[in-house]
Symmetry: C2
Subunit: 240 residues, 2 copies
Amino acid sequence: MTEGQNQGRAAKLHHNCDQCDVRHKAMCAAVDVKDNDRLSAIVSHRDISPGQVIFEEGDPAEYAYNISSGEIRLYKLLPDGRRQITGFLGEGDFLGLVSDDAYAYGAEAMTQVELCSMRLINLERLLVDIPPVREKLLDMSRDELAAAQEQMLLLGRKTAREKLLSFLMQRYDRADSRPTEKNLHLPMTRTDIADYLGLTIETVSRTFTALREEGLIELIDTHTVQFPDLESVRDAADAF
Amino acid sequence: MTEGQNQGRAAKLHHNCDQCDVRHKAMCAAVDVKDNDRLSAIVSHRDISPGQVIFEEGDPAEYAYNISSGEIRLYKLLPDGRRQITGFLGEGDFLGLVSDDAYAYGAEAMTQVELCSMRLINLERLLVDIPPVREKLLDMSRDELAAAQEQMLLLGRKTAREKLLSFLMQRYDRADSRPTEKNLHLPMTRTDIADYLGLTIETVSRTFTALREEGLIELIDTHTVQFPDLESVRDAADAF
DNA sequence: CGAGCTGTTGACATTGCTCAAATTTCGTGG
DNA sequence: CCACGAAATTTGAGCAATGTCAACAGCTCG
């Protein structure tokens, strides 16, 4: 299975950025193709299995990462264990840039994950030498910030029902594959969804059931949702 | 009314950045002093009175602003009027950069405000010509992002009591003037606080009363708080 | 097959919200 | 400086949405 494959790959430390599948949607897109070797020289490949911690809040920040494949959750914890998931990241997303010298949040793999890692030191150098990279990172953090503000609106002012519907629409719209696809796959557990939406798992579960009974969604299985009528879901989700 | 005032002052379009009080803590600090005229050439001065809208969510984004003095609230609205305040800004803070071509949130003056405005077009040019400015803006948005994530934790996972205490500590720590000062001034209304913390004004009010009765805070007047024992407040606020 | 997850459902508790009214604060004009 | 009306804040009573605790069902893995 994948384990074997991954280990095979990890042996080859320096990935070749020329052949990277996600280059176009990652921060790397800002690097001119002719500087690819510059990029390849500083990145390493890393495989992570589901549930594994990539880094924890407060860890000294040494690496930044691009996600080559798989999905990750970012979260913050309170001393007593309450958790808030601040975001889910997927293919092409970037993580690890911090103002401080410590990570401001933790990161865990939700699925099998392939990371493209680089030392922050080397990244800093890249930012200086190749200005478009900084430009790209600024654009990306502005997007992240806009998403964070949208999430604050959700957390502070929406009902459980609105939260879940907004979440589903957010996932649906983000999913790159949008041909005739009416199915939405949710890789995360109910606990993850609850911690993302500021709810308990019971409320998430009950709300899923309620939406199903209303006919707004169909639950193909616990991790797959279908929308009989997309528009009515959007209307109910508000906020868009 | 205020219109008149604004036009009066606005007559003097180009502020002199050499003499700016907040230059050192604003984005402008990234501009070398010798390029000050470059900066002065693109900024204008604007006065805003309390309650006035600076821009609304969805407005086409034309200007970015530095705050010379005063305090501002940023917010997002739901169609039915529910409001989430996403942040309070003060002296030296920067607002208006957007990924889209429309503002992602609204901004209103809470007090009398002096703004230093610049066209986004001109700012873009500055970013290209003076790389440290982009660097500075990236740093600032990383800080903003970290603050946003902290706020998500607060909104999603803290109790009303913890929310209010965290808010008070956040304000206390941010207030630049921290000599022997045990007083904290809150320029915003209870409604603003409620909309920032994801609560109702009644709950905010009751929680203030409860904290006063516990002896954790003293209310000098509705907008001034004192902390008899700062440490016990910090303990109760968690999350730090 | 049994242990251990994950998810669902039920019964009940509680936090924070809603509606309403009393009180205080604040801005304005005299 | 004072009085008045409007706005902001506080307080009370009841309620609803969501959380807590507990039982149970379905699946996966050994």
